[in-house]
Amino acid sequence: MSSIDRRPPVRRYEHGSRVPGWDEAVDLTKPPATVPDPALTPVPEELRAAIEAEMAKYPDRKSASIPALHLAQRHHGWCSPEAIKQVACVMRLTPAYLTSVASFYDMFYLQPKPKHDVYVCTNITCSLLGADELYERMCEAAEGHDISVRGFECLGACDIGPMASVDGEYVGPLNLDDPKLIVEDIEAGRPVLEHKQLRRRAVADAKGRVDDFDGIAPVGQEGN
């Protein structure tokens, strides 16, 4: 079977799971996680009020679970088991229900994370325009800072690609020097790359523009 012996070896790839928990058993010393009893679950008053306000917006209180998780994540920095338990207590749901929901969505963190978020879009348009290298630079620049950098799927701003969302502020098109500036702006607590913010950019369509617009010209139309 000489031909088979000459086969190139098929490498085994690591499973590549980003998932904590796959390899973990439960802790049998813990009690089952049922709906938390209000008498035993202290919830910060402002968080409770905010969650209750969200619940009031919907015909079914469960609809507020994503807004409530946003609130809890903001309050606690991440969707910690305690944060989830507090939301569960206010919403009268099991913590598991909310864990299930939170883990489905990319913007919720079930692990502790740095304070600031930089999402670098690495989807098709941005990567055609050099996002992969930008992402690496961004990771390097953020090292040692309280900043989480993630390669993100399309953020809906391909017109300014390659781009990033810095704590929710869309900036682009970014060049390879920008990551350093972004980190500096974050550390200084000032608006990030103001001259590249999407919120200030004019529409590309010429008929959409007005003379008194004082923002940034569309990409590729700086001369116009």
Binding site: S3, R6, R7, P8, V10, R11, Y13, K57, Y58, P59, D60, K62, S63, A64, S65, I66, P67, H70, S100, V101, F104, Y105, D106, M107, F108, N123, I124, T125, S127, L128, L129, F152, E153, C154, G156, A157, C158, D159, I160, G161, S165, G168, E169, Y170, R199, A202, V203, A204, D205, K207, G208, R209, V210, D212, F213, D214, P218, V219, G220, Q221
Partner: protein, 434 residues
């Protein structure tokens, strides 16, 4: 061609009621409230407007599917704009939120709905804040709430932020997500118009579709239908990105040539480069080639050409990029975004992803492209929703249209990996049967 949605959209303050009203805003609402609700649905039907979100279903027809009479019915505006390459709704919501709100009020009046939601993707924080402010302003001005402008129509509008999941752009995934669940698509039937949000009849429309409603009411459906082509009426907001010199959002009349968009409006690729392939309707659409640039940009022509208009997002790839690289990005995206509910999509996207990793590592043979293509055809039509197809169609089209290049890529990867050259078919069989 008239500019219906983007006309001087950059005007400062357009996101507030005074400027919006000065420009004629909310006049369509006043007009609509004088009309019987059925007449509005009729106008929408006459306008021929097709859904601007991706599926291209006729809006008037969708609205007419909704049961009549008083019951818990809902309208959900799909602002989860997540299709790679698409960013048109973002511009509209950010700069003229009241266009959308007015469209929503008119549509709910026409269909007897009293509870509406705008499901906006969580990443659009700026736009969501602007919408929140605009809704509050509209409530204060009496455009939302009880007995709107004395018409007897009441509407509660809630801006709901998502949290990052492409699948929530699928209408039933969106509904589950809005109900506070994981955004898994539902089985259809029942369709949302019969059993949607909270099991009530639900109308789900894209931002741009609803944003066009005031225009249709102002112009009259018949006049609106005169714009564009017979099967694709009206204007369309398109997002052009990738290897073009002037990327961005444009409002076009449906039926202009694709070349006019890519070269005329957007300046084409950088000098010296040519269009290698282009996605006409987001990354889910099968790719077209340079030779297809003269196709009319409308729903029917693109469908006939084996692709689709989708969300109106054109991604241009020039000849500096390899087909393999494009395919890999597409696959990685869908594998990441598959919700995992149904088997062909979950396993198919994931398998395809591993497949490409193997090609890249120099561990595959050109014959594997047949398996790759076959896996795509096994996904198409067998999934719960369209996400699986959304990967399989473009990937299938790239394999079919760039077969030679991909084979060369495989050989090159093998060389890089110092794999033994493939000499005879016995080796190939031994490999692929393993």
């Amino acid at each position: 061609m008239p500019h219906l949605l983007f006309d001087r959209i950059d005007e400062p303050g357009l996101n507030t009621i005074p400027v919006y009203e000065r420009r004629g805003g909310y006049s369509a609402l006043r007009k609509a409230l004088q009309m019987p609700p059925e007449a509005i649905v009729e106008e929408l039907s006459q306008s021929g407007i097709r859904g601007r979100g991706g599926a291209g279903f006729k809006m008037g027809q969708k609205a007419s599917f909704l049961p009549k009479g008083e019951m818990a019915k809902y309208l959900t505006c799909n602002a989860d704009e997540s299709e790679p390459g698409t960013f048109k709704d973002r511009e509209l919501m950010q700069k003229s939120p009241h266009t959308l709100i007015e469209g929503i009020i008119i549509t709910t009046y026409a269909t007897g709905i009293h509870h509406a939601f705008i499901y906006i993707r969580g990443e659009y924080q700026l736009q969501a804040d602007i919408l929140d402010a605009a809704v509050a302003e509209a409530e204060a001005a009496g455009y939302l709430g009880e007995n709107i402008l004395g018409s007897g129509h009441s509407l509660k509008l809630v801006v709901h932020r998502g949290a990052g999941a492409y699948i929530c752009g699928e209408e039933t995934g969106l509904l589950d997500s809005l109900e506070g669940k994981r955004g898994n698509p539902r089985l259809k039937p029942p369709f949302p118009a019969i059993e949607g949000l909270y099991a009530g009849p639900t109308l789900v429309n894209n931002v741009e579709t609803l944003g066009t409603v005031p225009t249709i009411i102002n112009m009259g459906g018949a006049d609106y239908a005169k714009i564009g082509t017979e099967g694709s009426t009206g204007t369309k907001l398109i997002s052009v990105s990738g290897d073009v010199q002037r990327p961005g959002n444009y409002e076009i009349e449906l039926g202009i040539s694709s070349r006019e968009i890519i070269y005329g409006l957007c300046g084409g690729p950088k000098p010296g480069r040519t269009v290698k392939m282009w996605f006409p309707g987001g990354s889910s659409s099968p790719v077209l080639l340079e030779q297809d640039l003269d196709l009319s940009y409308d729903f029917d022509t693109l469908a006939k050409a084996g692709s689709m208009l989708g969300s109106g997002a054109i991604i241009v790839v020039d000849d500096s990029h390899s087909a393999f690289e494009v395919m890999q990005k597409v696959v990685k995206f869908y594998a990441h975004e598959s919700c995992g509910k149904c088997v062909p999509c979950r396993e198919g996207t994931n398998w395809t992803n591993k497949f490409l990793a193997r090609i890249e590592a120099g561990e595959s043979t050109p014959m594997d492209l047949d398996i790759l293509a076959s896996v795509q055809s096994q996904i198409i039509g067998n999934c719960l929703c369209v996400l699986g197809d959304a990967m399989a169609m473009p990937v299938g089209s790239i394999v079919a249209k760039f077969r030679d290049e991909l084979e060369a890529e495989i050989e090159a990867a093998r060389e890089r990996a110092n794999a033994l050259p493939l000499t005879d078919t016995e080796d190939l069989l031994a490999l692929s049967a393993h």
